[in-house]
């Protein structure tokens, strides 16, 4: 199945994920060389359009495009509301006049990526749409795990924290399941309503004690503003109930987090850099996996044209 766009993990079957992971592996070899660029996408243009702040996602997509010798148009859209200033449609149409082959979009609205495919000929990568999806994160997380496991089949993965507001949880829960893992969602009931389990095909628990049994603990960022909305009585209450610290993290368990980490909240400072923490590896993986995604869309898939790598 060749990818036309990367909008949701629904676009990714196991075969496609395997192909992207394998290609990311070969790009990782390139990254080890002195000259890190490959000419795969020379003459192609990648635009990144970010309506939300994001250091690691935007920079890794930009760098990924450059490593593949593509031209990059990075755009940080100021307004957080399409009602203010230029509409999303006008921005995308204007940007499309430059003829990019890929638009990477980060926006605070669910379905924004799907929507802009109507206004551009470019392949669209959803780099986060509201609280809905973040499929490139899922791919880089699977790639990261595959460096430790031959397969995710039967692996027990716990996703812990603010599930309700997390696009990473929504994408990862389903992508991990596609790869055969058994996923459990864990968090306080205010941040993990019962429908989430049904919606994502996962088990739901509010009790952290069972986390001992997990092969992988995937933690999520707790945002301070959730406190003001009474999703939690206090940070202290969350820390007692759900923080992953050296007492809760077993030596054989792998620890992940999509970043940025709130040290002392969802993770204690000592586990962030622990030997079984993959957090730094996730960042490294982000680059090569995003190279593989761009390659998949431009050189490997339907949009293949002219010379290929």
């Amino acid at each position: 199945m060749a990818l036309e766009h990367l909008l949701t993990v629904d676009d990714l079957d196991r075969e496609t994920i395997e192909r992207i992971v394998a290609r990311a592996g070969s790009f990782a070899e390139v990254s080890g060389r002195d000259i890190k660029k490959v000419p795969a996408l020379r003459g192609r243009t990648v635009a990144t359009l970010f309506y939300e702040n994001s250091t690691r996602t935007s920079s890794s997509f930009e760098l990924a495009a450059k490593r593949l010798s593509a031209d990059v148009i990075p755009i940080k859209a100021g307004g957080s509301s399409v009602a203010k200033g230029e509409s999303l449609e006008d921005t995308v149409r204007t940007l499309s006049a430059y003829g990019p082959e890929v638009i990477v979009l980060r926006a605070p609205w669910a379905g924004a990526g799907d929507m802009i495919t109507r206004w551009t000929d470019a392949a669209v990568v959803n780099a986060g749409d509201g609280k809905r999806e973040h499929p490139s994160q899922s791919l880089l997380d699977i790639y990261t795990l595959r460096r430790h496991f031959d397969s995710l089949e039967g692996k027990k993965i716990w996703i812990v924290g603010d599930i309700l507001h997390s696009r990473v949880a929504r994408s990862n829960a389903r992508a991990f399941r596609t790869m055969g893992a058994h996923v459990t969602l864990c968090g306080p009931p205010t941040l993990l309503p019962p429908q989430m389990g049904e919606a994502l095909g996962c088990e739901v628990t509010h009790d952290i004690t069972g986390v001992d049994d997990a092969d992988v603990i995937y933690t999520l960022r707790i945002q301070n503003e959730r406190m003001n909305e009474s999703f939690m009585p206090s940070l202290a209450e969350y820390v007692i109930g759900y923080q992953i610290n050296s007492k809760r993290l077993g030596a054989k368990q792998l620890l992940m987090h999509p970043g940025p980490v709130n040290r002392g909240v969802e993770l204690s400072a000592d586990v962030v850099g622990a030997p079984n923490s993959l957090i730094e590896q996730q960042v490294e993986s982000g680059l090569v996996v995003r190279m593989a995604i761009l390659y998949e869309l431009l050189a490997g898939g339907k949009r293949q044209m002219g010379e290929t790598a």
Partner: protein
């Protein structure tokens, strides 16, 4: 209370002489009057003068004869809940375009909501709108005024003066009356205004931040949910307050099973509560929002199949008083944006009866007579007499072609806005002509009339 005629409402033809028309060989179907037979339906001076033997009425000077073979004459529809967007929202709709949509949908009367910019909250606002309606409105139109000043939910509007100015009810539709204390005062004050109170029921705190029905789909999409309970809780509160004050209320746009059940129990106790369901809540479910197409975004949101079935049962068993569209036009730039950013609401006047006929009557889910009744029974909740086809009645007639086969929106819309949730859907049946308050309000453009020589 004696009910007013539709002709008590304002529109551009209200000073015209009544029409003289014969609907020849038409099926006259009026479930309330118990009429279902073929006639030459004779309208003289705007009144139903005769239900004559088919083919018996001879041409005469000044009498238009229309061949209505295969067509149905129905009591024209009455919608107690539309948004005409005047003043302030004319980019979406105005009195002319909104009532054109109503006329094309077979409506002889509509009631416009007050959540305009600025809101309609003074007697002067009501008088000014009524004057404009005399110039612009294509069918009789009534206006409700805000229940609270500026729709702020804090101070009552001048109810008796609004009634004197001709407001047909009061409503803060678009927003709930958050304060139980203010709600209680409104109900108490109704004793001297006599005005119906139409209620948008939503417990604001529970619904805040929501864009669609709270359930598995909203959980999967990460889109804020509006729980059914936000509607149910407010209906429960207001039923109890209405009971306490012996007042009457009209609950708008029901969306949830529990809402129907709560109202059914209140009616058993004798609480004076009328209610409405919209065509979109009767035909569609939350599944339609899976694609995040903002033309399926409205408040209250589309809910589950179980909720939809409860609304259908509620119409059938009489719990729900009427069908109302909540016609809510929005310009394209407020709708062709990401779902969470888009305005709430859909247009509905031009598709209401055809979509219910196609999706619920033809498949045998709802009885034709029941639906025809519910399409105009909302009039009584606002003290207007529902249209009748009995001899001697003011002529309010929809001429319906049950065989018309059309695609919604394919030939454009009469409404200035195009945010229909039924665009592209195949429809059976269409209004060919609408007679309102004794005057011809609408003829479909391509509908060729046979005129007496």
């Amino acid at each position: 209370m004696t009910l007013k005629q539709v002709s008590a409402l304002d529109w551009r033809r209200q000073d015209d002489p009544g029409s003289n028309v014969v609907l020849q060989q038409v099926r006259v179907f009026d479930p309330r009057a118990g009429i279902d037979s073929n006639h030459d339906l004779v309208i003289r001076d705007g009144e139903i003068a005769e239900l004559a033997t088919p083919g018996s009425v001879a041409p005469a000077e000044g009498l238009e004869i229309i061949d209505c073979h295969g067509l149905w004459a129905l009591p024209a529809f009455f919608d107690p809940h539309v948004h005409l967007r005047t003043p302030g929202g004319e980019a979406a709709e105005d009195l002319d375009t909104g009532t054109r949509a109503a006329a094309a949908g077979g409506y002889c009367g509509v009631i416009g909501m007050a959540n305009t910019r600025p809101p309609v909250d003074t007697p002067a606002d009501i008088r000014s709108l009524r004057l404009r309606a005399r110039n612009d409105a294509q069918v009789p139109v009534g206006f409700v005024a805000c229940a609270t000043k500026g729709m702020q939910g804090e101070e009552l509007t001048d109810g008796t003066q609004l009634a004197d100015a001709g407001a047909v009810g009061i409503s803060d539709d678009g927003l709930p009356i958050r304060s139980a204390r203010i709600m209680r005062r409104l109900l108490q004050y109704q004793r001297i205004t006599g005005l119906q109170i139409a209620l948008h029921e939503e417990e604001h705190e529970l619904a805040a931040g929501g864009s669609m029905h709270e359930g598995e789909l909203s959980a999967r999409l990460g889109v804020g949910g509006i729980p059914a309970l936000s509607e149910v809780l407010m209906i429960m509160r207001d039923i109890e307050l209405a009971d306490l004050e012996d007042a009457r209320i009209h609950v708008q746009h029901l969306s949830a099973r529990q809402s129907v059940e709560v109202i059914a129990r209140a009616l058993e106790r004798g609480v004076k509560v009328t209610s409405e369901a919209t065509p979109h809540h009767l035909v569609l479910t939350n599944d339609a929002t899976a694609t995040l197409d903002a033309n399926f975004k409205m408040n209250p949101p589309l809910r589950t199949e179980d909720d939809r079935q409860a609304l259908i049962e509620g119409l059938r068993d009489g719990t729900i008083t009427c069908i109302a569209t909540d016609h809510a036009p929005h310009p394209v730039e407020r709708k062709d944006v990401p779902f969470e950013e888009a305005a709430m609401g859909v247009t509905g006047l031009e598709t209401a009866f055809p979509v219910i006929y196609t999706e619920l009557v033809k498949p045998g889910v709802l009885d034709l007579g029941l639906v025809v009744d519910k399409m105009s029974s909302g009039a009584a909740a606002f003290d207007f007499e529902p249209p009748s086809l009995q001899v001697g009645s003011e002529a309010n007639v929809t001429l319906f072609d049950p065989e018309a086969d059309w695609i919604a929106g394919a030939d454009g819309w009469e409404s200035r806005s195009h945010n229909s949730c039924f665009t592209g859907r195949r429809m059976q049946g269409k209004t060919r002509m609408t007679i309102a308050a004794g005057r011809i309000a609408y003829r479909q453009r391509e509908f060729v009339m046979g005129v007496a020589r």
